[in-house]
Amino acid sequence: MDLKLELTVNGKKRRIETDRRRTLLELLREDLKLTGTKYGCGEGECGACTVLVDGKPVRSCLTPVSLIKKKAVQTIEGLASGAELHPVQRAFLNAGAMQCGYCVPGMIMATVGFLAESPQPTQEKAVEALNGHICRCCGYVNILDALQRVTRKPEEVNPR
């Protein structure tokens, strides 16, 4: 327990005391019980652990807790506004872009982060941005459809 830090998670201030060798993923899942962010590989190859740190997509499985001091972390649980889904969540839902769904939270967070940076992207750029995410059910066809939906109407997507 050699590290004390303050950070914000989904808008809520948190004070954490933990081992500095731990990762942000472990902190989220084990300490805060925010299990929406997933473990897929532990080496940053699959994207299932993606969260936003200060608005930018980050592989939480590779992020030491020491790096998130004073930062604002947003996870999948913090995306919807109460009962209202974020447009990216809606796009994945309406496109049926999920089979087992395990890769979906990471993909959604990455898409949100990407759109914040590139508000009017081409489909090609969106695909490039998401290529680091693995869907082993290989449900990519519907995922591509979901991306089409958000790139087609970017003005509907409000980056937060």
């Binding site: 954490i16 472990e26 897929g40 590989c41 699959c46 996870t75 695909v127 290529n131 066809v141 519907n142």
Partner: protein, 730 residues
């Protein structure tokens, strides 16, 4: 570290409320059972349900009450031992129930794979849910519907045939009276739910389907996009610890000695050695890893030699067991025809070829995982598995407790593909939980999943084919070493055939995989058919159709060829201005688990670099009456793309008892950018029984690509994955 007692705020509407009182006892009394299911009364005798179901032969009708529970609020809970691993069983069984009960899909709550609550539908594999469990659920729901009509009829003194159910209600024509399912739980009539379901009970005809046959979206989708759904690796229990297991340095290694002292001296750590099992549980997974590392520093291992993937295929042939196959496999349709030797002798031209397929891994996104909790005298385990009955009996056996004391719950899981039939994580978590006297969550790392799970069998396939003077195939031999006998028989009308499957000593642990050995056998067969066609100077499509009598297989082959415009594309040969890029087309077809698939593929090869990419896959697929066209398309698309992986890049390498590429950086799986143009032709056959579609669409992909590669380059690659020194996928 923050300390907060976990509260399950994200209860899915489809799942029951799981009460976590400290005095929770495993042997549920009726009252506790009712609490679990919410409002409404479960009619059947809870204490006897589990025992009775085990005593009952699988396939027996059962009672209505064993299959569904009716709530006073009108919500109907339907129960099944099937699991959801992404293939769409939850949505499908929900639809099936909604159809027969005549209620909206949203009024159905499906409880899956909780061994204390559900009837015995077996495990989830072999594409069996659609042909076997869906009918059972439909019959039970039809029986409930009939009971509703009967009971209303009695109450109103009218003939049941004059009444109908809409939206779960019967309206009395004469006035304002309504009878609904909730009325069936009234004391005076509830006995009706205990009646046996007749096996001959009528279910809705396809032409009358209102729910089945429609593209109902995935049930539970909202919980997935919000992160609310708790996968098995997300389950949290009060006081839960995190567990890690010490793995041997290589296959076959045994532990001579280890000192757990350094691990045990760490605060909050429980360290266990039980024979070859060494594990640690701790308040965080990082601490458990640290404890394990402290212990493993002193570990001494005996490490025997182990084969390597270099020389694998020779090894399989050398270690084939003699006399293993013919009598056992004959039952599976590997019937021989005519006389192979005479057929070959009479052939104008005989070809022989050997095909090989590598070990591949399912690599589901959620690795093996379990949460185990001992309470009172019983064990509860949440785990991701396709075979909960097997996990349950393994746990009972390993811990020497009666099965009635073991409860296995399978939350909707992050992928299976045939790779989660075994109970490792459940047993490991339970062992640690027993020692720590706390619930333990244990999730395998990706490296553990790649190394210590199991693989799709590697195989060697030897083929011989004889061509008659008229260019038809007159003799056919197909010998499969190790990978299996699924689809080992040829569907073509060849007069003289011999097929054989030989068990071998496999160096790696192997088991089920999507479509089993039909991926290997269809790859070899359809590639070799093209080899014969080339020698005969025939078009691959005509060559097949000439000797293909099975109408349903012809239909998908012709369907794919038509959509793909095979004839026109054959005439074109596209080149870029410099001429280094060449395109080729290929096709393949096959049948497995009763459904039919055919694919036409176009690839583009850069002759200078030898790199090729798949430009288009056009697949036609038929599985009887389509129950959910949206999910069917998703399964076909998923099979196609997953099939690209095994066709182009996936291969397990091993050396000195270790997997060489146990990670996503070194074991390449299909990615978003690699998705080609995909056309699907879903042939609906409302006149035929519905069949499972989670596996078969994968079988036509690899051979169609191999055939396209040959058409483009003249090079025949006889391996999966399709690559050699000269050619490989981009």
């Amino acid at each position: 570290m923050t300390e907060e007692l976990f509260r399950d705020e994200f209860t899915e509407p489809e799942r029951y409320e799981l009460h976590e009182a400290p005095s929770y006892r495993f042997e549920l009394e009726r009252r506790e059972f009712v609490q679990i299911l919410g409002a409404g009364i479960l009619i059947s005798m809870v204490g006897n349900v589990v025992v009775a179901q085990q005593a009952r032969r699988r396939g027996g009708g059962g009672t209505i009450a064993e299959r569904l529970h009716i709530g006073a609020d009108g919500v109907i809970t339907v129960m099944t031992s099937k699991v959801e691993v992404g293939q769409g069983s939850r949505t499908q069984l929900t639809m099936a129930a909604a159809e027969e009960l005549r209620v909206p899909v949203g009024q159905i709550r499906l409880v899956m794979a909780d061994s204390s609550l559900v009837p015995n539908d077996g495990g989830t594999a072999g594409s069996r849910t659609t042909p076997s469990t869906v009918p059972r659920v439909r019959r039970a729901c039809a029986a409930a519907r009939e009971l509703l009509l009967e009971t209303a009829g009695k109450q109103w003194s009218v003939a049941p045939a004059s009444l109908s159910v809409t939206d779960g209600k019967i309206l009395r024509r004469s006035g304002d009276q309504v009878f609904s399912y909730a009325d069936l739980v009234a004391e005076s009539v509830k006995k009706g739910l205990e009646r046996e379901i007749q096996s001959g009970i009528a279910v809705s005809a396809v032409a009358e389907w209102k729910v089945l046959g429609t593209p109902v979206p995935k049930v539970g989708g909202a919980a997935i996009v919000t992160g609310a759904h708790r996968y098995p690796s997300d389950i949290v229990r009060p006081g839960m610890l995190y567990g890690k297991v010490l793995r041997p340095p290589s296959y076959g290694a045994t532990l001579s000695s280890i000192d757990l002292g350094p691990a045990r001296s760490m605060a909050g750590v429980t360290a266990v050695r039980d024979g070859e099992f060494v594990g640690c549980a701790a308040p965080t997974s990082a601490k458990a890893v640290e404890a394990l590392e402290a212990a493993s520093a002193s570990a001494r291992w005996e490490t025997p030699a182990h084969p390597s993937s270099e020389g694998l295929y020779a090894h399989l042939k050398e270690h084939a067991r003699s006399g293993s196959s013919s009598s056992r496999r004959r039952r599976r349709g590997a019937r021989n025809r005519g006389s192979l030797d005479e057929g070959l002798a009479a052939s104008k031209k005989v070809l022989r070829a050997t095909y090989v397929v590598a070990y591949v891994q399912h690599a589901p996104m959620e690795p093996r995982t379990a949460v185990a909790e001992w309470n009172g005298e019983g064990l509860t385990v949440w785990t991701g598995t396709q075979q909960p009955p097997r996990v349950r009996s393994d746990l009972a056996r390993v811990f020497r407790v009666p099965e009635e004391k073991v409860r296995v719950i399978v939350p909707d899981t992050g992928g299976g593909f045939g790779g989660k039939h075994s109970a490792e994580a459940a047993v490991e978590a339970a062992r640690l939980s027993r020692a720590a006297r706390r619930p333990v969550s244990l999730t395998w790392t990706r490296e553990e999943e790649f190394t210590w799970a199991y693989f799709r069998p590697a195989g060697v396939i030897e083929l011989a084919g004889g061509l008659a003077g008229d260019g038809s195939v007159t003799a056919w031999e197909h010998i499969n070493y190790n990978s299996g006998s699924s689809a080992i028989s040829t569907p073509y009308a060849i007069p003289n055939t011999r097929t054989q499957f030989k068990y071998c000593e496999s160096p790696l642990r192997q088991g089920s995989y999507r479509a089993l050995a039909s991926t290997a056998n269809v790859f070899a067969r359809e590639s070799f058919m093209d080899e014969l066609a080339a020698v005969a100077g025939a078009d691959p499509l005509e060559f097949r159709l000439r000797q293909l009598e099975a109408a349903r297989l012809r239909a998908v082959l012709e369907g794919a060829a038509r959509r793909f415009d095979w004839a026109r594309r054959k005439k074109e040969r596209r080149k870029d201005p410099e001429g280094s890029k060449v395109r080729g087309i290929g096709l393949a077809c096959g049948t497995e688990k009763g459904s039919f698939a055919a694919a036409c593929v176009e690839i583009e090869v850069d002759r200078k670099s030898g790199r090729f990419k798949v430009v288009e896959v056009c697949e036609a697929y038929e599985c009887g009456a389509i129950q959910n066209p949206k999910n069917l398309k998703a399964q076909v698309d998923g099979c196609i793309i997953q099939g690209l992986g095994a066709a182009l890049k996936e291969e397990i390498h091993f050396k000195d008892g270790r997997i060489v590429n146990p990670s996503f950086s070194t074991y390449e799986v299909p990615r978003l950018k690699e998705v080609p143009k995909i056309e699907t032709v879903l042939l609906d056959r409302p006149d035929l029984p519905s069949l499972g579609a989670g596996e078969t669409p994968i079988i036509a992909v690899a051979p169609a690509i191999g055939n396209a590669l040959f058409a483009a380059t003249g090079v025949r690659i006889r391996s999966m994955p399709l690559r050699n020194e000269a050619f490989r996928a981009v």
